[in-house]
């Protein structure tokens, strides 16, 4: 586990090509350990691609990218990085509990963790339901629970709070807070600007380029507005 003050992920001039098109144009960023970094930007801007590169499942990545000091996706990282995909990526024809139990046995998580996670993401009531029959919000919580299995040091979460009611969203954010306090590094993507305010650090990504990386308060100061939507607009204008 890395301690606060160090960086958990470092990217320098990271480029991703998909077919002939370049979708990430040489981005440079750094995720502080034991902190929540928000990857914020409109959809289609390359957020998922960047997350996939960090997890190590994206092809055609160039530039320098180190995750916990190692090459992304290397065998030694597969227990230490948890990935919550945007689509739930669970077996539709298994129940929530069966999905969790299967992935728990793959990552070597202890049996009891499945029960704990079901409570944590508020899915106890749906534990026996087939994933096929779940609502969108429930599905994204299945994905989150799967990412949390095995107590990873780095959590990469793609839009984990989409479609959730405010109460549950609040609860998840306080869970992210607790995780960060216990030393877990979180990278959380969102297309909703107001979620940026909940992060320690914000990376603004648009059209495959990083507009800026900063603490939310610092961002507000620099752009002269508390409103993150406005701040985003000003940064886009400044970049022109």
């Amino acid at each position: 586990m890395r301690s606060a003050g160090e960086s958990a992920v470092d990217g320098r001039d990271v480029r991703v090509r998909r077919g002939r098109r370049e979708v990430l144009h040489g981005v440079t960023f750094s995720l502080p350990a034991a902190r929540i970094t928000g990857l914020i930007g409109p959809s289609g801007g390359g957020k998922t691609t960047l997350l996939r590169a960090v997890v190590g499942v994206q092809r055609h990545v160039s530039g320098e990218l180190r995750v916990l000091g190692l090459t992304p996706g290397s065998a030694a990282l597969r227990r230490r990085v948890g990935y919550g995909t945007q689509s739930q990526a669970a077996y539709e024809d298994l129940t929530v509990r069966e999905n969790l139990e299967y992935f728990a046995s793959l990552v070597g998580a202890h049996r009891g963790q499945v029960g704990e996670l079901l409570v944590r993401v508020d899915l106890q009531a749906a534990a026996g339901q087939l994933v096929r029959s779940l609502s969108g919000g429930q599905r994204s919580r299945v994905s989150l629970a799967l990412a949390l299995l095995g107590e990873p040091e780095l959590l990469v979460l793609d839009e984990p709070t989409v479609g959730l009611d405010p109460v549950l969203r609040e609860r998840l954010w306080s869970m992210f807070r607790e995780l960060a306090a216990s030393g877990v590094t979180l990278l959380v993507s969102s297309h909703v600007m107001d979620e940026a305010a909940r992060c320690d650090e914000v990376v603004l990504l648009r059209d495959g380029e990083i507009l800026t990386q900063d603490a939310p308060a610092e961002l507000a100061r620099r752009t002269g507005t508390d409103d993150l939507d406005q701040a985003f607009l000003r940064l886009v204008e400044l970049g022109r």
Binding site: R18, G19, V55, G56, V57, Q58, R59, H60, G73, A75, R78, R79, V81, Y83, T85, S87, Q88, A89, A90, Y91, E92, D93, L94, E98, Y102, F103, S105, L106, V107, G108, L130, L146
Partner: protein, 243 residues
């Protein structure tokens, strides 16, 4: 091993939630065999000639369908990507599919063989156990071919289109409809490189010759070699990194 066992258990659990598919898998071959027997009601010799080959053809078709669709789902639903972010190896994943589907194939083949040799009155000169082993080998071949097909399809609709492409030529040339010895040079040569030709040769040995175990074992070995080849090639298409 632990991950292979967990995967096999997971695949079987998925099947348990889908009793209709399991019922179709087990009962349709048995029903077809019965129909086949009564189509040849007045030509028992014809049934005796074509029946054994059918016993090893069903596992190919069913396993091809089940495995191509299952693995395509793994690829398109994001579960394969998630598996690749865990410490599981591709070998362990395919091992899990191999174990669970072989179990299913054994049940299916056992049922068809028992029905054919029992109530339907098909007679076998050689070893019944070897027919079942041959059927299981063919099932693994179906798994490998299905895995390969899943790499070249984007949707379930596409992947079932591979069935006529991959299976039908083998059905025509394997010696089920016309004996391989009676085929012209080119057809015979093509039939020589298709795995099902050896499966049907093998089952014919077992059906017609009382002491043909050695010849049948050689055919089983060839079918298994094709199966392993297809599975290894297919494993190469399961990539950790995708676009």
């Amino acid at each position: 091993m632990r991950r292979t066992a967990a995967t096999a258990a997971r695949v079987l659990r998925q099947l348990r939630h889908d009793p209709r598919t399991v019922a179709l898998l087990l009962l349709v071959p048995a029903a077809l065999m019965t129909i086949f027997r009564f189509v040849y009601e007045n030509e028992r010799v014809a049934f005796q000639q074509a029946g054994p080959a059918l016993m090893v053809l069903f596992p190919l078709i069913t396993m091809f369908l089940v495995s191509s669709v299952s693995l395509l789902r793994e690829r398109t639903s994001g579960t394969l990507e998630r598996l690749m972010t865990t410490p599981m190896s591709r070998l362990a994943l395919l091992g899990g599919y191999g174990v669970s589907f072989t179990l299913l194939a054994t049940l299916q083949a056992g049922l068809v063989v028992a029905l054919s040799l029992g109530p339907l009155g098909l007679s076998l000169a050689g070893s019944t156990a070897l027919v079942v082993v041959l059927a299981i080998s063919v099932a693994l071949l179906g798994l490998g071919l299905g895995l390969l097909a899943s790499a070249f399809a984007r949707t379930e609709f596409q992947v079932v289109q591979f069935l006529p492409l991959v299976i039908l030529p083998q059905l025509l040339l394997c010696g089920l409809l016309v004996a391989r010895d009676e085929m012209g040079g080119v057809l015979h040569a093509v039939s020589d490189v298709l795995p099902m030709s050896y499966a049907v040769d093998g089952v014919h040995h077992l059906a017609r010759e009382p002491s043909a175990s050695a010849a049948a074992l050689a055919d089983i070995a060839i079918v298994l070699a094709f199966a392993v080849g297809a599975i290894v090639l297919g494993a190469l298409t399961l990539r950790r990194q995708t676009d």
